[in-house]
Amino acid sequence: MKRVLAFALISTFVVAACGGGGTGGGGGATIKVGLVTDVGGLNDKSFNSLANTGRLDAEKDLKVQTSVIESKKQEDYVPNLTTFAQQKYDLVIAVGFLMTNATWKVAKQFPDVKFAIIDGAPANDKGDSENLPNVANLFFKEQEAGYLVGVIAATMAKDKVGKATHNTVCSMGGIPIPPVDRYIAGYQDAVKTVSPSTTILNGYSNDFVDQAKGKEVGLNHISKNCDILFQVAGGSGLGYIAAAKEKGVYAIGVDADQADVAPGTVITSALKRVNKAVYDTIKAVTDKTYKSGDNFFSASNDGVGYGKLDAVVPASAKSAADQALADIKSGKIKPKDTVQVK
């Protein structure tokens, strides 16, 4: 009890001491938004950095006050989310499915604070998803992005463009979790539709970080005649791209535009515009249109798409992809979301 008393004393002291300082907690109309990255950190050139881009864009356009915390360890998710919630932020955004349980814990404790989680829904300690009235679950239709790059890959394989001479395309996931498999499912669906004769292979590196594992799968795929390799494995996928570069075949990036990773090797990327999801969610809070529960980002609201095309990609492939994009938006094409070739 002494300990508790000491804390109470210290807290009153500190509150009193800070009262005059005023670090921006004016309590006016400015909306405060906090973003918590996962352990990938701000410079992952993917998920977290995209989310941060969305935050900075919103800060510029929407006159909101924003902050970011980089998580260094998995143990940090709960305290980092709690820190923003305790400072009475209006919206706290958790980046990535690694934080589903942490978000559930913290959001339950702070029912007056709005939360958003990218790629997941709050999950209780048993691991079951449980929607909360103050958490927006931001999902993406990855199968649509996978479908678009699949159309490009299939067109090039069918027409034997450049080094794609074996009519075989491949993909590699990190770990078979739903968002990864949705990408791959859409990719395979497109290839089967556009070019039924094309051989499809798929594999997993069982890792999201280790490049060596991704490269191993890549070299194996290339030895089986693959000449277009689609990576869905984050950092591990960079090894998959490296294998393509080493053997002089083509690769497709994921999430962010990865054209810069290996110019001439990466022909395009399946884009998941996390920045757009973050921006739109912040805007929804300022507009008072914030909606808890599932929110989807898809081709129809520019949440997914395909990235910069390399010079080797023929006009026929581009027009096929653009047609597919229009058809997905109109609902004429509904890409499958379950993997067919395991």
């Binding site: 508790v4 352990v39 143990e75």
Partner: protein
Amino acid sequence: MTGATQTSPTGPQAAPSVRQPTAQWAQGPAVPVVSVLISLALGAVFVLISGHNPIDAYAALLLGAFGSPYDISETLVIAVPLTLAGLSVAVAFRTGLFNIGAQGQLLVGALAAGAVGARFADLPGILLLPLTLAAGVLAGAGYGAIAGYLKATRGVNEVITTIMQNYIVVFVMHWLLQNGPMSAPNALGTPASAPIGAGAILPIVIPNEIVPLSRLHAGILLAIVAVVVFWFLLWRTSLGYELRAVGLGARAAAQAGIDPKRRMVLVMAIAGGFAGLAGMIQVSGVFHRVFDGFSAGFGFDAIAVALLGKNSPVGVALAGLLFAAFARGGTIMQSNASISSHLVEVVEAIVLFVIAAEAIVRAIADRRGTPAEALA
């Protein structure tokens, strides 16, 4: 910091006085304090270069670490494993061994505690908690003892073996949790074990009504006990005397009838025990299960903690608290003052650098000063 090293000049305390070369000021807290101050000053230069105000930065750092009851409780949560792993490194240092393996020993302790806590989840707390505790400490001790044994019997450098052991446990852990016997469904999005039983959980010591979501657990009491045990062991037991004697000069100790080899195995087991306790506490107090990427880095920061704390019990505890404040405060500094939390890593690195520089200077001074050093 000085209390422990400067008690009675007689009896077991005679040993340090054999080694008289260093000036008195360097033995006390002066060097660590000065090195931290120098580091903060150099860190301020980096803040200035990055276009921010250093005073704002350090104010945000301080407030982040101690600005609210929640911040204080979070800082203490981080200080617990840092201090325990710091004791692990320090006890080995005292015996002249360099334990780089605190991280691996911590993870082995966590795995053992997680396995026992989940396997016997139905046992009442009065049985399960001690069992989990013993599992964590003994597993860490066993893992540490391997390096000590190899050093004693084969002369294998403990730096090499403990580094290798760190890698081994990371990969074994990966296997155990991903598709091995410990894997279990969970909501973490990463391979993890089943949760431990309610009886194995260390209670939170601050009620939720006072500090919501505080994670400060009873492990802090265990850490305090460990600091006292460390002091008692080294300065109040004959074993501690022998360990320190080996640390000051293995050959001289052997002349005096102390077998350094047996002490090496023993001290590495003790070091592993401290680190294993840290792992057990992270499982029982903070996360209630083990997962891939668990408590990354504590065992490495612990080396800096031990060096800064001059391998004394109070020193290690204070250094653990300081590094915890850096970790917690740095996070908040980033959100409240928009200064990259990597600044604190810069400051920590400079702290280490300054301490290492001091050690070099002292080593040179020692070599010049005393022929007695040749004994070591």
